[in-house]
């Protein structure tokens, strides 16, 4: 019986071992979280003009290159980037990796020399986007 009593005391003491250490308001360190409160995930890299031959015709584009800071990810993750051109609201505007697996992405649009072009960028997975960030570039 004394063993049972000791067991009861032990259980009471062990009950204190489990703690609720999770504070939802402090969960804001994941870049895929809409409430992410860390440093910017997207970083402007460069912008330049590029001539592309389409069907024998040379077409001039402005290319904006930006980098996804994957080092901020809490664990290695695959992702896509959703882009919105705040200047022309083109619904077909897309960002594509410079090379497969690269963290550098490029966006090409009609050139706007001297004009600041701002892009709204979001990490995107499973039909939902993370915190939106804006980067701007001037040619």
């Amino acid at each position: 019986m004394r063993i049972l009593l000791a067991f009861a005391i032990l259980l009471t003491l062990l009950s204190g071992c489990y703690k609720d250490n999770v504070d939802v308001s402090e969960l804001n360190t994941n870049p895929f979280d809409r409430d992410y409160a860390g440093p910017s995930v997207f970083e402007f890299d460069e912008t330049f003009l590029q001539t592309v031959n389409i069907g024998g015709t040379n077409v001039l584009y402005q290319v904006i290159v930006f980098r996804v800071k994957e080092e901020l990810f809490l664990s290695p993750s695959s992702y896509s980037v959703q882009l919105r051109d705040l200047q022309n609201e083109d619904p077909n505007a897309t960002a594509t990796p410079v090379s497969p697996g690269s963290s550098l992405y490029r966006y090409q649009r009609a050139p706007a020399p001297g004009q600041q072009i701002c892009l709204e960028l979001q990490l995107f997975n499973n039909q939902s986007g993370a915190r939106a960030e804006t980067i701007c570039a001037t040619l």
């Binding site: 019986m1 004394r2 049972l4 009593l5 067991f7 009861a8 005391i9 259980l11 009471t12 062990l14 009950s15 489990y18 703690k19 609720d20 250490n21 999770v22 939802v24 969960l27 360190t29 994941n30 895929f32 979280d33 809409r34 409430d35 990810f73 809490l74 664990s75 993750s77 695959s78 992702y79 990490l123 995107f124 997975n125 499973n126 039909q127 939902s128 986007g129 993370a130």
Partner: protein, 243 residues
């Protein structure tokens, strides 16, 4: 001198004749007893003789009987013996109130002992099982919350993360609170029942079984002439209540 001796002898013979005549004139009858309880019944005849006979021959007339058996109430009665006849008498003695009370006390003692011996350990065992299960559930709830927190760190699904924060983690936190409360309550109940079991065990060990003090026996044996066959002895008993 010789003449006086002659008169004395004649008187003595006369007295002898008269006395023997009276003896022969008193007829006797028999009483045949059936008792309940049969084995331990005793009786006192005419306030003088303590007997256990089942059949007794007595002179005609009324005789006082006091019947008694252990645990039974004494019965004081007068029976009439008819000459040259055998009479069947059935005597049944009721249990004395003291014995009835003693039996109740004894039953209570046995019942308390039985309940005290088996119920508290069963309750304590149940409480121990409940506490163990509650504690395991508490651990499971805690691990579930930790797993969700890990999911937050590994997830790359913005919608999933939102669901985690809005629904799954708050729900897991609520489950953890409930599990913790239940674990504390169950452990408390377990500890309390274990302590109560210890106390009951201790008290049971200190109990003394009720002892039957047959006061009717003392009354019965008081001032009774015991027929020893050679003369007889008078005995007297008394009891002194100390409590």
């Amino acid at each position: 001198m010789m003449r006086s001796w002659g008169i004395f002898a004649v008187l003595m013979v006369g007295i002898q004749v008269l006395w023997s005549g009276s003896l022969h004139a008193q007829s006797t009858g028999q009483l045949r007893f059936r008792f309940e309880p049969d084995r331990s019944m005793q009786f006192v005849l005419d306030g003088k003789y303590k007997l256990t006979d089942r059949e007794i021959t007595l002179g005609e007339g009324a005789h006082r009987f006091t019947f008694w058996a252990p645990e039974r109430l004494m019965l004081d009665t007068t029976l009439f013996v008819e000459g040259d006849r055998t009479r069947e008498v059935f005597i049944r003695l009721r249990y004395s109130q003291d014995y009835v009370d003693h039996r109740r006390a004894e039953e209570r003692y046995v019942k308390e002992g039985r309940w005290g011996r088996y119920l508290p350990p069963v309750v304590t065992g149940g409480a121990a099982a409940w506490a163990t299960v509650s504690f395991l559930n508490y651990g499971k709830a805690s691990r579930a919350l930790d797993d969700l927190a890990d999911s937050y760190r590994t997830s790359a699904d913005p919608g999933g993360i939102q669901r985690l924060k809005d629904e799954e983690i708050p729900s897991a936190k609520s489950d953890l609170r409930s599990a913790r409360t239940q674990a504390f309550v169950a452990t408390g109940v377990f500890a309390a029942s274990a302590a109560v079991t210890l106390i009951i065990r201790k008290r049971l060990a200190q109990r003394t079984a009720p002892v039957f003090d047959d006061k009717e026996r003392i009354r019965f044996e008081g001032l009774v002439h015991q027929n020893t066959g050679v003369g007889g002895i008078w005995s007297a008993t008394f009891s002194l209540p100390l409590l």
